[in-house]
Symmetry: C2
Subunit: 233 residues, 2 copies
């Protein structure tokens, strides 16, 4: 930090991996939101939402601003992921990007394509188009982080509606972890965690037998989010 | 990522929190390496080693270069921690810093004060001088990360010599976690992990009764580092 302010400096951006989970309409894939670029390089290609960090805003503020501008998403769970600085990751010039990841329950969130972007859309993580820049790598790191975190923080719960069935919760974990889980074992472990509490309600308007709805115990949730836990599934 | 290259851009630095553990001479505190600044701001104050990212180098390379230049430390375990971007964190201008943390076994590592820095020295984490910039906050986040990581990755082992006693290993964990651990329980859990293997050697030249030396099973270590584990202590 001594005397190098006169050096040429890399440009600084933020990029956001927004994961979405839709438990409502049978579309239970883990999704990610992409923006179709309207400018070169990669014109017409798909990319993570993001943009340049302004001199007067924090990194978190830049991520929230870009997300709102490009997708209309506001007030969502956002966490810094990792900073990517490969020298040739942007063909135009040296650009370092601070990546974030966000979790969204798709119920009740609309995406509005902004003037900045030709198009914004959700894609299943398992079936993505080719991504611009190193965005596939960033997405892979975010997915890996999500898989790791659900094992020691109750983070995945952000992706469910307020009231949910244990089937929905199990499916969420299966989608994030990308493997099938044993139903009885899963339920036993989840309920032992004391985050998930039974409600008096059951599902409405479903073709199958209506299942019990559960909700989170917010206090236990906050405590475990802070101190971490072991959820071996 | 569209059309903002003409904007003013923050400066970009790296800063490195180097943790050191000396199990050899009874000095078993967790230490951190600081550099005494020889330029304003905070002239004469203590700070983390670090400096500006050059346009032609990766972030990891910048961290390794600054560490070598300012401290002489090379070939050590280094991991990206978090990127700090508070708007006023540097009084001169907007500077965003990508923080790293490193783990060093102090046995066999000398620090050489470089021309860049008036002085480089190890300080006990529990007894630090006032730090320049937001470096205390960065150090706190690094310490918290280290405490978290030793619970699900065998990361702390980087801080021990090749051959070590279970007493040294327990003390390392006590120092990182900042609490006393039950000896019998700790040994049972460590040996159950199958990372730590008994050798045929015992301590030499010690005043107390010589204890058995252990070493790591490198293969188990690499596998567990990759997949993570739960080490509830």
């Amino acid at each position: 930090m001594s005397h190098a302010y006169e050096f040429a400096r890399p440009a600084l951006t933020v990029d956001i991996v927004v994961f979405g989970f839709d438990s409502e309409y049978g579309e239970e894939d883990l999704k990610v939101m992409l923006i179709q670029r309207d400018l070169a390089p990669y014109e017409g290609g798909w990319a993570l939402p993001g943009g340049f960090v302004r001199v007067e805003e924090t990194l978190d503020d830049a991520a929230r601003r870009e997300l709102a501008e490009e997708t209309g998403l506001k007030d969502i769970y956002l966490e810094q992921l990792y900073t990517f600085g490969a020298v040739e990751r942007d063909p135009r010039e040296r650009v370092v990007t601070v990546a974030y990841y966000a979790l969204v329950n798709l119920e009740g969130h609309d995406i509005q394509a902004n003037t900045d972007a030709r198009n914004a859309a959700w894609f299943p993580v398992s079936d993505l188009p080719e991504l611009a820049f190193d965005h596939q790598e960033i997405l892979d790191v975010a997915h890996e982080r999500l898989r790791g975190k659900v094992r020691y923080q109750p983070i995945g719960f952000e992706l469910l509606p307020d009231r949910f069935t244990l089937r929905q919760l199990q499916h969420l974990y299966e989608v994030i972890l990308d493997r099938e889980l044993d139903k009885r074992n899963f339920r036993k472990k989840v309920l032992a965690m004391e985050i998930v509490k039974e409600t008096k309600e059951i599902e409405k308007d479903v073709a199958h037998r209506a299942a019990r709805l559960y909700h989170f115990d917010k206090r236990t949730y906050d405590r475990l989010t802070k101190q971490g836990f072991n959820f071996e599934i």
